[in-house]
């Protein structure tokens, strides 16, 4: 069965990733760590966009809440790592539940706008609540536990967290719930008339997506020993959306691949030209007009032709 083969391939990808520190220098270790963090962020986002058809414009909020909570709990309050990390994720989940409760009442443009408005509110609070977040200077000097405070160790920590989260997300999207979520995306009205409480299904997606975004945010904090208000700004929400589209929202791994592409493009283009935003913009236009299903969509199509 395809599902099983895919799992095997993901397993191979996992092993390949696990070998990165052994075969490459520190810079790849850093780059891949960063890619893995944003891949998780994008995977969480795609639960909303790809599976739920919900265009959230404020997904950065939960990333930022997880990131700040992790920083504050570990550093300011000095909690033990597991409690701090866990509580940060829990806080993202709770915020997503509260915010999501109001957002899923709206549809389409209004849903997007309310998610944006809430995310901007989170940003404004992070910006103004200087005593806790250190405002625009950024929260630096995060107390990262010694056992993971080393690039390769942190790489493996991230890899394991990513693998666990990706597996959970994979199970979720293929579960009975995942199928129902897709049904609500395909036809909101029909789903209601088979007895599905569509809002509640969407709320669960919102909370799950927020939770995993929170995990990504907490990882980001641990990786950088810092969090910045920019992580809550709407451009971060736009970025995760671009990642998902680049990779393809129609496939499970698409957004993760998109995260890798965007980060690699971002790094390499900036070295070639100061006009990297234009190049990125043109790539985006090309995807929109010629490959609307993203890179994974292209790969699938080519695969079908090849067969």
């Amino acid at each position: 069965m395809i599902t099983q083969r895919n799992m095997i391939l993901l397993g191979i990808a996992f092993v390949a990733l696990a070998l990165v520190p052994a075969v490459s220098g520190l810079f790849l270790v850093y780059l891949v760590t960063e890619i893995m963090i944003f891949a998780l962020f994008a995977l969480s986002f795609n639960l909303l966009l790809g599976y739920g058809g919900l265009i959230s414009f404020g997904h950065a909020a939960y990333f930022a809440i997880g990131a700040y909570a992790c920083a504050v709990l570990l550093t300011t309050l000095g909690w033990p790592f597991l409690f701090g990390f866990g509580a940060a994720i829990l806080l993202s989940a709770v915020s997503a539940a509260v915010i999501g409760y109001f957002c899923v009442k709206l549809t389409e443009i209004y849903f997007s706008m309310l998610t944006l408005a809430f995310a901007q509110l989170v940003w404004a609070i992070a910006f103004k609540w200087v005593a806790v977040t250190n405002g625009d200077t950024g929260f630096t000097g995060v107390a990262v536990p010694g056992w993971m405070d080393e690039p390769v160790r942190f790489f493996y920590f991230t890899l394991i967290v990513l693998a666990v989260c990706a597996y959970m997300l994979w199970r979720i999207v293929n579960s009975a719930y995942g199928m129902t979520l897709v049904a609500t995306r395909e036809n909101y009205n029909r789903a209601e008339f088979i007895g599905v409480n569509v809002r509640r299904i969407q709320l669960v997606a919102f909370v799950l997506a927020g939770t995993f975004a929170g995990v990504a945010g907490a990882l980001f904090t641990l990786f950088n020993h810092a969090v910045f208000v920019e992580n809550a700004w709407w451009t971060q929400s736009a970025e995760v959306m671009i990642m998902s589209i680049l990779g393809g929202v129609g496939s499970f791994v698409g957004p993760a691949v998109g995260a890798a592409i965007l980060l690699i493009l971002d790094r390499s283009l900036a070295e070639i030209t100061v006009y990297w935003p234009t190049v990125l913009g043109i790539i985006l236009l090309a995807v929109l007009f010629f490959f609307p299903e993203g890179l994974m969509g292209v790969a699938k199509k080519a695969g079908r032709k090849g067969k």
Partner: protein
């Protein structure tokens, strides 16, 4: 603070004139949103282009009488032309697609336009001098007030009235209203909906250009000015109601007044308050203060 009537009056004028400048820009955005249903993130970039083009045209028309005004008109026309190119070559092919793709398209535009501006005008802060005759202040009886800001106020009201007239009293305006409500109905009437969309996009963008050109002497030009304005415009449009011109007018005034009186009443937290306002409106009245709820 209200025990100083002169101060209150000036703050009122500050709020109104700021609101009116914002209205010109937000009116274009709400028009596009209402009719095309496109969340146009590039609207701020169009505003920025308007400002920069005005800067260049002011230099070009330096010798001519009324050069500044020519430059303002020229900027609006330039943006209309630019929008026409964008619409006919790209945007129109996306109308049938999910609005996610339209959103992404406008992101791509933002990236490319900001680079175009950088390439053409550099990253120095540029300023456009206030036009002759508008450098000083005018006696309003209660106090003196900067003449150029009075002009901005007047322009905002002028645009509001002309747009109201256009939308409510002209044949073309009727189509725009109809397109806002029901695209299919318009098609069944044999109207070329594609043309209505194109004209709305062009007109909305011209308003962004006009707003940018008029703002240029007051705000000075710098990269990043697009990002600042777009968030404000979205706030206005949401508070007023997507697609509602009257709503944009009220929303712009509210935002302007909140800014001028907010710094006196709730210094430091206006930024939180603005987003809170946006959240509350969307939660309880998602169609905005003056918009109408959509029938499902």
């Amino acid at each position: 603070m209200f025990n100083n009537p002169v101060l209150t009056f000036i703050q009122l004028m500050n709020g109104i004139s700021l609101g009116m400048n914002l209205f010109i820009i937000a009116a274009g955005l709400t028009l596009i949103l209402g009719v095309l249903r496109v969340l146009n993130f590039a609207h701020g970039a169009f505003y920025m282009m308007g400002g920069y083009i005005c800067f260049s045209l002011v230099g070009l028309f330096a010798g001519l009488p009324g050069g500044f005004w020519l430059a303002v008109v020229g900027s609006a026309i330039a943006l209309a032309a630019f929008a026409w190119v964008v619409e006919t070559t790209m945007l129109r092919h996306l109308y049938d697609r999910d609005h996610l793709y339209q959103l992404l398209f406008t992101f791509a535009l933002v990236m490319i336009i900001s680079d175009l501006v950088r390439f053409n005008w550099g990253t120095n802060v540029l300023s456009v001098s206030l036009p002759n005759g508008f450098r000083g202040a005018t006696d309003l009886g209660i106090s003196f007030y900067p003449t150029y800001r009075l002009l901005l106020t007047g322009m905002g009201i002028f645009v509001a009235i002309s747009m109201w007239y256009f939308v409510n009293k002209t044949r073309a305006g009727r189509f725009v209203r109809a397109a806002r409500q029901d695209r299919e109905m318009l098609e069944s009437l044999g109207i070329n909906v594609g043309r209505v969309y194109m004209l709305v996009f062009v007109a909305g963008s011209a308003l962004a250009g006009l707003g940018g050109a008029l703002a240029a002497p007051a705000v000075s030009l710098a990269p990043g000015m697009d990002a600042e304005i777009i968030v404000q415009c979205f706030i206005i449009v949401i508070i007023g109601g997507l697609g509602s011109l009257g709503g944009a007018f009220v929303g712009a005034l509210m935002l302007g007044l909140l800014k001028s009186f907010g710094v006196m009443l709730i210094p430091n937290f206006e930024i939180v308050l603005i987003y809170l306002m946006m959240v509350i409106v969307l939660m309880f009245r998602p169609w905005g203060l003056l918009g109408k709820p959509e029938a499902k």
